[in-house]
Amino acid sequence: MFGYIIRRAVSGILVLLATSVAVFALFFYGPSNPALAYCPETRCTPERLANITESLGLDRPVLEQYGGYMKGIVAGNDFEAGAISIPCDAPCLGVSFKLRVDVADYLLARFPATLSLAVGGVAIAVTLGTALGIFASRVRGTLADKLIVGSSLVINAVPYYLVALLAFLYLISEWGIFPQSGYVSPFTAGPISWAAGLLLPWLVIGITSSTQYARFSRGSMIESMNEDYVRTARAKGLSDRMVTLKHALRSAVVPVVTIMGLEFAALLAGTIFTERIFDIQGIGKTALDAIGTKDLPIIAATVLIAAAFVVTANIVVDIIYSLLDPRVRLS
């Protein structure tokens, strides 16, 4: 087990290193010249540009620059561009071209919004999805079951961003059923306004991604209800409820974990749309804005962070998976 975790962690780090190379390539082939971003618009003479290019180290070999970037992440790296000096502590992900701030600090300030969004959405998706799935498996073959299965297929088929867009336009803009506030900090504005502002995005994420959980937990419930150990439990005279809760449920949770892992990347992508549509200033919206303004350090940092999350999530899911299902051997 321990060895497995180590191996997975090493391969995860290798993947991230490769990602960082790809991300760093953005600076070279990117649509923006970093030196130009620091050159005063009205007085950018070629000499000044050359001076800034030199102080940014853009004239050095690629490998050396990549080394500098990686060193910044580990040890921090004060940023020099011409006469401008901006402190950037470890982990230094660069300094924003447009805002001249430490990217790591900047993203950290926007992280709570994304985290709130993702955690709330997944929580709703998992509870709603497994509850519906278990319910459907219990009433298998009835109209209710067919309704759940059918509607989950249809909901699953609609592009997520259109659901979010229409929900926003109607339920917030037009009818005002949900508040407009978007994300507010639970610590300064209070948990109630925090939850109120995020309620609709949560519901949209929750309902659209609950379909997967519903389908697969239903499937595995049906499967496990036919297993010998469940039959044994029943034969012992355990109530239906107890059987479902104590024995069958455990196996129903396994696909939930699998899907959580698989859906994680999709969830991150969905966050970009959610934040764009509901105007929540989280990491996704930041990345989108940065792409609009060609702010390379922010784009690079968000790509790297997202990749780190996906890699970590996959490892964590695999480990949980092995803990939940004794049949899965890690090797």
Partner: protein
């Protein structure tokens, strides 16, 4: 939103196998097609898809038929002083001159835009599906058949691609491609289209590759492959002549689930502001129409309905195809 259909991977955790009575003398593909023919929902979806395909193919003919013109608006005569259309909705009733109304600001006809939007949508999705499928097949075959380092390298590359946030990378990558190769203004549209197709294809092959690799791993130990090897059939022939025919089912399923994913992705990227300038796209229309939601809703509805209908029909059809080809699943 991602373009990796999660259903592909975990389909075997669905309901337990139900014994189907095999009729002698029919190939699995024939059986699947037969099943599909009896699926009413699938047939309805197929009809819907067929209609969209016809619209896409005959877009120029249809615009002539309705007497409308693509991007033929004159802002001065076709829109009023406040930029709203001078004929048709939202200020005047329905008119055959512009059945779906005119676009505010430019006065372009929205029906023509809708027809050509279908064309872009299906065209891009088809191309990307074909390209991604080919990549998936080739890489999967190679990885499965090559032992050792090549397999491991491919697995690593797949890991990297799966951990990269698709939307962010697509949004960051497309402008780079355009700026690198779009020097001549007359080739701009073409380069933008290529960038879009490239980005979509390059992020769409991983799941199929993994799936095929897995299948190949199990098939390669089977007798017919061993036999072919013993008699000295070259590896290439074994791959494409012996193995490929056995992989029809996963490939067909991957294509049928890939199409809606690419339609969704294309429109989603266009909505976020990436895509082909000058070529109509539903996603771009949605993006421009959002601000007119309260004053001119039809502007928004047309492309939304287009995307929804097409994606739902394609998705449900894809589900049906998967179920038909996978004997383990049953509705």
């Amino acid at each position: 939103m991602g373009i990796q259909p999660t259903e592909l991977v975990v389909s075997n955790t669905d309901e337990p196998e139900v014994k189907s009575q095999d009729v002698a003398g029919r190939s699995p593909t024939q059986i699947a097609l037969d099943r599909l023919r009896h699926d009413k929902i699938a047939m309805v979806c197929l009809a819907v898809v067929a209609v969209f395909v016809l619209i896409a193919i005959f877009a120029p003919l249809l615009t002539d038929l309705f007497g409308v013109e693509l991007e033929g608006g004159d802002p001065v005569t076709d829109t009023k002083a406040d930029s709203f259309p001078a004929i048709g909705p939202p200020d005047y009733g329905f008119t055959w001159e512009a059945p779906l109304g005119l676009e505010p600001r430019t006065g372009n006809d929205l029906l023509a835009e809708w027809f050509y939007g279908a064309r872009t949508s299906l065209g891009v999705a088809t191309f990307a599906t074909v390209a991604a499928t080919l990549m998936g097949i080739v890489i999967g075959l190679v990885a499965g058949f090559a032992r050792g380092w090549l397999d491991r390298v491919i697995a690593f590359v797949i890991d990297i691609f799966l951990s990269l946030p698709f939307i962010l990378v697509a949004l960051a990558l497309a402008p780079i491609i355009v700026s690198r190769f779009g020097a001549q203004p007359e080739r701009l549209e073409f380069v933008q289209l290529c960038a879009l197709l490239f980005v979509l294809s390059v992020f769409g092959w991983m799941t199929l590759a993994r799936l095929i690799r897995g299948e190949v791993l199990s098939l390669r130990e089977r007798e017919f492959v061993q036999a072919a090897r013993v008699i000295g059939v070259p590896t290439r022939s074994i791959l494409f002549k012996e193995l490929l025919p056995n992989l029809v089912a996963p490939i067909v399923v991957s294509i049928s689930l890939g199409l809606p994913a690419f339609v969704t992705a294309e429109a989603g990227l266009a909505f976020l502001g990436i895509g082909v300038v000058g070529i109509p796209s539903w996603g771009q229309t949605v993006n421009r129409a959002v601000e007119f939601f309260s004053t001119y809703p039809l502007f928004l509805y047309a492309p939304v309905v287009g995307i929804c209908l097409l994606v739902i029909a394609l998705n449900l059809l894809g589900d049906a195809v998967r179920d038909a080809f996978d004997p383990k699943t049953r509705r």
